[in-house]
């Protein structure tokens, strides 16, 4: 079974966000970058578990410049067999999906796994776009995935319950919590990652369908209003009269 896992770069979750160039660029100075948690914890690790059980290979794919190499090496250290980097700045979701689809279309992948969203842009769009471009069915926010031959059984949270879904490979799946547990790379994995293949591929032409024209930060909240813990009637009064939420 050939598995492709989309890996993207995200600022560490504790990063203080700021911008440069008249608020048109994210300030990467002193920012620690990580593998987008949904891509790493759920998509990559479940891909590795399926490979360990059913045989096959796990290839990661990333759209980005050479500044993405450290997070790609991390994915290799966790256990991916090899990696592809499309050498272009990831400008929007469509651009990323287009580059991945262009690479993946003739490679015969049985399973394409991505995280349910990134923690930086949070668009939840690359999975659905990939499915359309590769003409594959798509299951979003899956929390469980089992493969038996060419049949996939999945679960996901739906309103008021858990949906159990079934379909034939190939398919695209976006992965959410529940899919797998985070794996910490060990020293052997880190050493092995250095010699694994990182295949750098030049991008295909794709127009910018959307672009960011300006970033901004939320205005500071005023000071918190402290309420006497003995006087919850006062809190209810404020929630009704002042905040107008009850």
């Amino acid at each position: 079974m050939k598995i492709l896992v989309g890996i993207s770069k995200a600022p560490d979750t504790t990063t203080k966000i700021s911008f440069t160039d008249s608020n048109t660029k994210f300030n990467e100075d002193k920012v620690q970058f990580i593998v987008n948690p949904y891509d790493e914890w759920y998509a990559l690790v479940r891909g590795l578990e399926l490979k360990e059980k059913n045989g096959g290979s796990v290839t990661t794919i990333t759209v980005g410049g050479s500044d993405h190499d450290p997070i790609i090496r991390k994915a290799l250290a966790i256990g991916a067999d090899d990696a592809v980097r499309i050498n272009a700045e990831p400008t929007d979701g469509y651009f990323v999906a287009k580059q991945i689809a262009e690479y993946a279309k003739d490679q015969g992948f049985d399973l394409v796994l991505v995280g349910k969203e990134t923690i930086n842009y949070g668009g939840s769009q690359v999975g659905g776009m990939l499915a359309e471009m590769l003409d594959m069915p798509f299951v979003s926010v899956a929390s469980k995935l089992e493969i038996e031959g060419s049949k996939a059984t999945l679960e996901r949270d739906a309103q008021g319950g858990i949906e159990v879904l079934e379909g034939e490979l190939p398919m695209v799946i976006s992965c959410a919590k529940g899919m797998a547990e985070q794996r910490i790379p060990n020293m052997r994995g880190i050493m092995a990652a250095r010699s694994k293949l990182l295949n750098i591929v030049e991008p295909t032409d794709s127009p910018a369908l959307t672009e960011v024209v300006e970033y901004s930060l939320p205005s500071d909240k005023g000071d918190v209003k402290l309420i006497d813990p003995e006087n919850m009637d006062e809190l209810v009064r404020l929630l009704h009269n002042e905040a107008k939420v009850i």
């Binding site: 979750t13 990063t15 966000i17 994210f26 949904y38 914890w41 979701g93 469509y94 999906a97 923690i119 930086n120 842009y121 949070g122 668009g123 939840s124 769009q125 659905g128 776009m129 499915a131 359309e132 471009m133 069915p137 798509f138 979003s140 926010v141 929390s143 059984t153 739906a158 008021g160 319950g161 949906e163 159990v164 879904l165 379909g167 034939e168 919590k177 910018a208 369908l209 959307t210 960011v212 024209v213 300006e214 970033y215 901004s216 930060l217 939320p218 909240k221 918190v224 209003k225 402290l226 813990p229 919850m232 809190l235 209810v236 404020l238 929630l239 009704h240 905040a243 939420v245 009850i246």
Partner: protein, 322 residues
Amino acid sequence: MSVLVFADSRGGEIAKAAHEAIYYGKQIADKTSSTVTVLTYGDVSNDQLEKLGRFGASKVLINRSIKEENEQTLSALVAEAVNAESAKVIVFSFDPNGKVLAARLSAKIGAGLVPGATSVPEIDGNTMTVSKNVFSGKAFAKYRINTDVKILSLLPNSLQPSETDATATVEEFTPAVPEGKIKVKEVRALGGEGVPLPEAELVVSAGRGLKGPENWGIVQELADALGAATACSRPVSDMDWRPHHEHVGQTGIAIRPNLYIAAGISGAIQHLAGVNGSKTIVVINTDSEAPFFKAADYGVVGDAFEVLPRLTEAVKKFKAAN
């Protein structure tokens, strides 16, 4: 030319998020001298569809032969409606179906998509700019859509629709659409009753400060008194005190209710990322130095085991009097 709005229907009901999306579509239609056409499916009554006029729909297209929601079937239906209506702007809700259908449509027709928009777009000639949350709600970005046809999905609870007396006309819309390849085998009901968390306007949440799953009764009682959903912090769902679907935060779900009450949660930055879109935040914590107080509108420095029951009583008293 029209603004096409996809309205999800589950169990024969048009969701609240869809009402918001229709109203949002109407704001765009008014700016572009066009009208709103709503597309939906399933077993929804004509009466309910006509009433979508109140939110700004002129016309509603419904496909009643699609019973089971499937992303391949529905995305083909959307594409047919885009053609039939020559839609230049297509609006979805940024909810599970909307996310998938918007992404598929964008890829299919090469139209720019802004997922999770939070503002009514600014329109200047053929360009449109619109804001969305980025970096888990820690910042905003204004996007320009460069394509002729534009796709937006609206973050639920971003605007408050106002209603009119208008009614919409209803038409059956039955183009040939393929059957989807993924089948729903079963839907297992979860134990939890009450309000689904992502749509809840009021949320009561608790963390490690509650000391154990056996103490959740006081959280549930406050939620019941308010008609609120319950939520929890990551450690609580990691320790299986509460189900995973209640976990709000950067790696759980992000919510933006009108009121978020957090008891016994310190307010780590990852938790804040999931709730900082809430209109009003109340924090209850014994530690006056808890970082969550900096993000709160109202703070109560006190023991959740005493404050929550007291607050529940105060809410009941208020409800009885109003």
